[in-house]
Amino acid sequence: MASSVEPTTPRVMAQGLTSASKASTARRALRLARRKPLGAVGLGLLAILCFVAAFAPLLAPHDPYESISGARLLSPSFEHPMGTDNLGRDLLSRIIHGARISLLIGVFAGALGTVGGLVVGVVSGYAGGWVDSAIQRVVDSMMAFPGLILALTLVATLGPNLRNVMIAIAVGSIPGTSRVIRGAVFSVKEEDYVSAARALGAPGWRVAVFHIIPNVMAPVLILASVAFGTAIIAEASLSFLGLGAQPPTPSWGVMLSGPSRRFMTDAPWMAVFPGLAISLVIFGINIFGDALRDVLDPRLRG
């Protein structure tokens, strides 16, 4: 089936991973960082995100929900380095707390979607036969459903809040992810070690869990990194349409949509900083993902 987008063969990627694990991790990492400076930058940005998210309450100078009297729409100053919004809340504090939410969304929605795709892809690819055909039919139909509209419908059904947004994003990414994994499973299925395990009488699920899954980790990791970024942008898009996390939650997507657009000409910092934050994080994730792909696919190595 040729409809999946697979630029590199997962089998080869899988080989790259196993051989790489033999070298010392730390030395390998350092070598990589030097060879792939962009990837290191990306990782650095993500590390900053994690740090800010983890220590948000300590780092934020003000309460992100507190409307400070007389502080409406103040431009950036020493007191409020990123200015304040239309309800008198300190923007810097909201951005810092927003990092938590973005991290949460990226990790959970991304992980959920990837794990879901992994399960579906492995089941479909390994089982083969009519099970595979049936699942693929459903996947086909779901992929034909425009992504944003699917997510929107799910959120409308469940109710617009952060948790449901994550579920909707995850569900929306499962079909596409499962396709890629399924392709990987097909390749790995034919490997000797798999046949050996089956010949030894291992039951299907054991083979799947202990032999198939570990050997498709390369595409899984890459998909996960992509999913992280996609989830953050998806949440921002849904918030733009009013169906994401709801105010007063300081999610960057929420901050980028509603009031910031209303006050765009008067208080541009309201939109500039959240937009910048999202862009930086996505940028980091993307270049990191790039480097990851380069590393895990030895054919592209120098």
Partner: protein
């Protein structure tokens, strides 16, 4: 001056009872009394000719069809898309607004008075007599329908009025304006130019309803019979004709060459562009692409003032976001059925803070039912502040007295309401000070609408527009049989008071009655009113004869021209 004025008003009043006299804008200079800048009939005024409604107007004198005005050009406005074209069977505001250009009514609002002044002037009815059991209209003669199939240029007659309003009163869920015909028991057309509406009860607000652009356009029978509805073609006696409706894009009108008011309209075409994004709208106005724009905020106003030389005007908006309680004993939160709890909430709010944070101070504090700036009907801002102060101790005492300590209330609102989105967190903070926990629940708009009608809410933010008559703020919303009584209000005492004000045809008396009801509102508080925004509107400096759109009536566009 005031003697002359008072004398005139008195004599009018003895002749005409039940004139639907609405208030005078506070922002217009003079109240009832002097002013001296209006009734003098200079160059065509806005007062009624012949027997009239006793209208009191202030503000700019109305233009008359002046041969020196430059003809031609296109007026471009921004607005929402229409739902469907049949304005008698839909509530959609853009549809109503559009219909006011193509269809005439019996009477209409004076577009040259203040924004909240709903003075009535003739349209196709030249004069009328209002009595407690009937209203008689005398129609203008020689008005012709356009010369197209199926009306073929025939004259407009009384039976057209009969037909139109009978259609409005059709029984069915989609006929959303039928309730306005409730006081009318029958409509007769004794001759071609006389219409008699027999009333089942005296109605102070009926004339006002008939003047509104909401569903009241007069339609020809042949059109509806040919097409089955008004969704396909529009044929009316108004100054413009419908050129095309491109859904999602724009609606366009062109001059009606056979319009019965000579000389009008001046411009060749009107176009409403459906731009949903407010920052796009603003950008377009600043760039000179729009002739008129109702600005959404103070910041937008400043932007317009600094970037253009547009004519801007600020006035109090009669519409705002009310906070509605579900007071049913078996509702989701029975504690709210206790008026003391509602009073506590009212006392816990600091309206000035809400005004400052949510609107940047650009608006008015509210409290009683009638908003500030509603002509005669409003209490003064000082009195309102006195009646609805912040009093945390009192709030706490009331809560304890009602046995509602540690109360949690769910506040839901539609997630498209920018106002609620901003106000809710502030209210949350304020109520927390007296131990009330407000949980915020933004809902997707359709789910919110469903919850509203089905009564699945406790304390809901509900937007309501401005209406021409105080009865619109009271009867549908608070009367036990009111069609928009979503909160389940069933208060016989309030019912009686509402019914009483409906029958008071004498203006002064009615004003006093309404004000007293407002002063007592603390005893009812079925809805809490926090603040109302101001509205700012901007007319391009290229425009001559700007007017005040009000009550879904944009007829003033007939006299608009370009420099």
């Amino acid at each position: 001056m005031s003697n002359y004025w008072t004398k005139r008003r008195l004599s009018r009043r003895t002749v005409l009872r039940g004139s639907a006299l609405s208030g005078v804008s506070l922002l217009g200079a003079a109240l009832i009394g002097c002013g001296g800048d209006d009734d003098s009939p200079s160059g065509g005024t806005s007062t009624a000719t012949g027997g009239g409604s006793g209208v009191v107007t202030t503000g700019t004198p109305a233009p008359s069809a002046d041969a020196n005005v430059k003809r031609g050009g296109e007026v471009i406005l921004a607005g929402g898309d229409l739902q469907r074209l049949d304005f008698q069977a839909t509530i959609s505001t853009p549809t109503q607004n559009a219909s006011s250009l193509v269809y005439s009514r019996l009477v209409r609002y004076d577009p040259y008075t203040g924004a909240n002044d709903y003075g009535i002037i003739p349209d196709l009815a030249e004069s009328w007599e209002v009595e407690s059991d009937r209203i008689t209209f005398h129609l203008k003669q020689g008005v012709k329908w356009p010369n197209v199939d199926p009306v073929n240029g025939r004259e407009f007659v009384a039976s057209d009025v009969q037909y139109s309003y009978e259609r409005v009163a059709t029984d069915g869920p989609e006929w959303v304006h039928a309730y306005k015909m409730d006081p009318i028991s029958s409509i007769e057309a004794p001759d071609d130019y006389t219409v008699v509406m027999n009333l089942s009860r005296p109605s102070a607000g009926l004339l006002s309803d008939l003047a509104s652009g909401q569903g009241m356009g007069l339609v020809p029978r042949e059109l509806v019979e040919a097409d089955g509805d008004l969704d396909t073609r529009w044929i009316g006696t108004g100054p413009f004709m419908l050129d095309r409706w491109e859904q999602g894009n724009r609606i366009r009108f062109v001059r009606n060459p056979d319009y019965h008011e000579d000389g009008y309209p001046y411009v060749d075409a009107i176009e409403w562009r459906f731009i949903t994004d407010s920052s796009t709208n603003l950008a377009n106005f600043i760039a000179g692409q729009l002739s008129y724009y109702a600005l959404p905020s103070l910041e937008a106003l400043r932007q317009v003032q600094s970037s253009t030389d547009a004519m801007v005007q600020t006035f109090a908006n009669l519409g705002g976001t009310h906070k509605m309680f579900n007071v049913r004993e078996d509702g989701p939160n029975p504690a709210l059925a206790d008026v003391r709890v509602r009073q506590a909430i009212d006392y816990a709010l600091n309206r000035q803070d809400i005004l400052d944070f949510v609107l940047g101070g650009d608006g008015n504090i509210a409290g009683p039912v009638m908003p500030v700036g509603y002509g005669d009907w409003s209490l003064s801002p000082d009195e309102i502040a006195e009646l609805h102060p912040e009093n945390l101790d009192e709030a706490r005492a009331l809560i304890t007295a009602a046995g509602a300590d540690g109360l949690t209330i769910e506040h839901d609102y539609g997630n498209t309401s920018a106002f609620s989105e901003d106000e809710a967190p502030i209210m949350q903070q304020q109520l927390a000070r007296v131990g009330i926990r407000l949980e915020l629940l933004p809902r997707e708009r359709t789910v919110y609408l469903q919850a509203q009608v089905d009564g699945n809410f406790s304390f809901q933010g509900i937007g309501m527009g401005g209406y021409p008559d105080p009865d619109n703020f009271l009867y549908p919303v608070f009367h036990s049989t009111g069609s928009k009584n979503y909160g389940g209000v069933d208060d016989p005492e309030l019912d009686a008071r509402i019914e009483e004000q409906q029958g008071i045809l004498e203006h002064e008396e009615r004003v006093e009655f309404i004000k007293n009801l407002d002063r007592d509102w603390k005893d009812y508080l079925y809805r809490i009113y926090t603040v109302y925004p101001n509205t700012h509107q901007a007319w391009s400096s290229q425009i001559v004869n700007p007017f005040q759109p009000k009550g879904w009536d944009w007829r003033g566009l007939q006299a608009v021209a370009f420099k």
